[in-house]
């Protein structure tokens, strides 16, 4: 089955790189994957989208991801500016970079009927600051995505991050991704994690 991810953020937050890394991870797991940026105005700070879809067979379509199975929201300030949830499939996943809950973000009602195990906020910017030293939440969110969706193994994500960003930068981002994975896994499975 095809699985489609749409990533929202702002120019400069690594939205496009995140989609590319997702595709590297899916490829590493032997799947067909396609990642591409949205064709909007990409400027620092402007709303930006990127897409990734993976499947067990060749992917032919080139349309933007209009009906995502999962949304990764790198910047919660977009929540009330962009129609982020457009086309999200029933039972879809939402992962938001935030220290706050869905209720605190003002979208508690919107997600009332969602499977709560498919919803998570994770402080990806804080994790990036701690591990990478820069407020770039993309890699951490990919760790969170692996945990929430179960679509990709954390190790494949880690390998993808290191392929995209070799050396120290990659290692630091992998650390952020692992931390986000733990937090997200614990949150959606209701387990206290050391």
């Amino acid at each position: 089955m095809m699985f489609q991810v749409r990533i929202h953020g702002r120019g400069g937050q690594g939205v496009v790189s995140a989609a590319e890394m997702l595709s590297l991870a899916a490829f590493d797991e032997g799947r067909y994957a396609q990642a591409f940026p949205s064709f909007g105005s990409e400027r620092m700070g402007a709303p930006v989208m990127a897409f990734c879809r993976f499947d067990d067979k060749e992917i032919r379509t080139r349309e933007p991801v209009l009906e995502p199975d999962a949304l990764i929201i790198q910047d919660p300030t977009l929540l009330h500016q962009v129609n982020l949830f457009s086309g999200l499939r029933p039972g879809g996943y939402i992962l938001i970079n935030s220290t706050r809950s869905f209720d605190e973000l003002g979208i508690g009602d919107f997600v009332r009927n969602f499977d709560h195990r498919h919803l998570c906020t994770v402080p990806a910017t804080e994790l990036a600051l701690k591990h990478v030293g820069r407020p770039l939440p993309n890699a951490a969110l990919l760790g969170g995505f692996a945990a929430i969706s179960g679509q990709l193994q954390l190790e494949a994500v880690a390998k993808a991050i290191q392929e995209k960003f070799p050396g120290k930068v990659g290692a630091a981002n992998v650390a952020a991704a692992r931390a986000a994975y733990e937090l997200t896994f614990a949150a959606v499975n209701g387990v206290a994690h050391a």
Partner: protein, 417 residues
């Protein structure tokens, strides 16, 4: 080797395997990553015996490639959009002189209004300049076509453009099989020019030719393209034999055997069309798609054979001849001379407008019911058009069109598609 990589990098690595001796580079979106990738390979020694020349404009990029090719070097450049327009004079010269340059086009719209996104206006603007034009459906084909393009160019002594959809392919991460150097070497022998500037055997290239011979020189260009119609399928067959992949060729048919409706398309759009065709087939519509790889030369005979038994043909084009409509449609109609069937032109995807499966399915439905006009505009927002037309009727100094419309639209970054 199978890799997950950006389309531009796949093209760059494959071009490098073709052992170019001169690469002329001038950056323009969305082609830039290709020459950047090649530049890095020259700098770090991966690509040897190659001179990477940064030039001051696109006009210079192709002019330097012309000089290099005339001196016997395998020459490559890449451009897009306004870039190919700026080099237009040199585009004609490269073909008129019969120099086997290979150039990638990262297909992009042409301004004004300025727009960096994908359509086919740029390649189409220079379609009759004497170059062979090959359109890639996927990044795998984009890579593979370059290997075939050098071979084709050098066998005919004719320049070849490989047209790759900007962003949709150039910036997409996909699965691409990059061949081994030995495999490419076995397919593509070293460049053996038919004409060369050589100090030991001096010749001139580029004579002034009057009415006594200009016509014949021009005819011979046409003759070359007719030969390409035979050579392109041969090279694709040989490629498939060696590399195990069906890439290139003149045209390809998908689910056309019993099709009453046949869609004609080119470039990356074909993948989305195939998915929509499968879905329409599941609903009982006997529909198929013919994709064009070789747009110049235009395969009239093959097109006639592929389309001739259909009831209707829908040509989907990412370009528009303002004042008449379709460009690809012209060739398709010529190929069907004397055959009675319904022909529809659909202009789609200009300036990066997304072409969705849902819109295609609705379009196919209207085609099946023969509700289409001769010329159609897929997902054109008529409200926007009519509002601007009304503005023009209300006051003479209505202001610049693009700015008026952008003001009407407001925050566009908030739109998903």
């Amino acid at each position: 080797m199978l890799k997950q990589m950006e389309g531009s990098l796949a093209v760059a690595q494959t071009v490098a395997l073709c052992r170019p001796e001169v690469i002329c580079a001038y950056p323009i979106t969305p082609q830039t990553h290709i020459v950047e990738g090649l530049g890095e390979m020259v700098k770090d020694g991966q690509l040897k015996n190659c001179e990477f020349i940064n030039v001051e404009s696109e006009f210079a990029a192709l002019s330097v490639a012309i000089g290099a090719s005339a001196a016997g070097a395998r020459s490559y450049t890449a451009t897009a959009s306004q870039g190919i327009l700026f080099m237009a004079e040199a585009v004609y010269n490269a073909a008129g002189l019969g120099l086997p340059i290979v150039m990638t086009i990262g297909n992009r719209a042409i301004g004004a209004p300025i727009n960096i996104w994908n359509d086919h206006s740029d390649s189409m603007a220079l379609r009759d300049a004497g170059w062979i034009q090959l359109f890639a459906e996927t990044n795998q084909e984009a890579a593979d076509l370059h290997i075939q393009a050098f071979r084709l160019a050098e066998e005919l002594s004719c320049p070849v453009m490989v047209c790759v959809d900007g962003f949709i392919l150039t910036h997409a991460y996909d699965r691409v099989d990059i061949p081994d150097q030995a495999e490419v070497d076995a397919y593509l022998p070293p460049f053996e020019p038919v004409q060369v500037m050589d100090c030991s055997e001096p010749v001139s290239i580029g004579a002034m030719v009057g009415p006594e011979a200009f016509f014949e020189v021009r005819y011979l260009q046409h003759h070359k393209q007719q030969r390409a119609l035979e050579l392109i399928p041969q090279l694709a067959a040989e490629f498939e034999k060696r590399f195990g992949r069906d890439s290139g060729g003149l045209i390809r048919s998908y689910r056309c055997d019993d099709a009453e409706t046949i869609v004609v398309a080119l470039g990356s759009l074909v993948g989305t069309v195939k998915d929509a065709v499968d879905e329409a087939r599941a609903g009982g519509h006997r529909i198929g798609v013919v994709s064009i790889c070789s747009f110049r030369p235009f395969p009239l005979k093959e097109m006639r054979a592929a389309l001739g038994r259909a009831k209707r043909v829908v040509v989907l084009e990412k370009c528009m001849a303002v004042g008449i409509g379709g460009i690809v449609s012209d060739g398709v109609r010529k190929s069907l001379s004397g055959i009675q069937l319904k022909g529809y032109t659909v202009i789609a995807g200009l300036g990066g407008r997304a072409i969705t499966r849902q819109s295609l399915l609705a379009l196919f439905g209207r085609a099946l019911r023969d509700e289409l006009d001769e010329l159609n505009f897929l997902d054109l927002d008529w409200d926007i058009v009519n509002r601007e037309l009304a503005r023009g009727r209300q006051q003479r100094r209505a202001g610049p069109t693009a700015e008026n419309i952008l003001r009407d639209l407001g925050q566009v970054a908030a739109r998903i598609a």
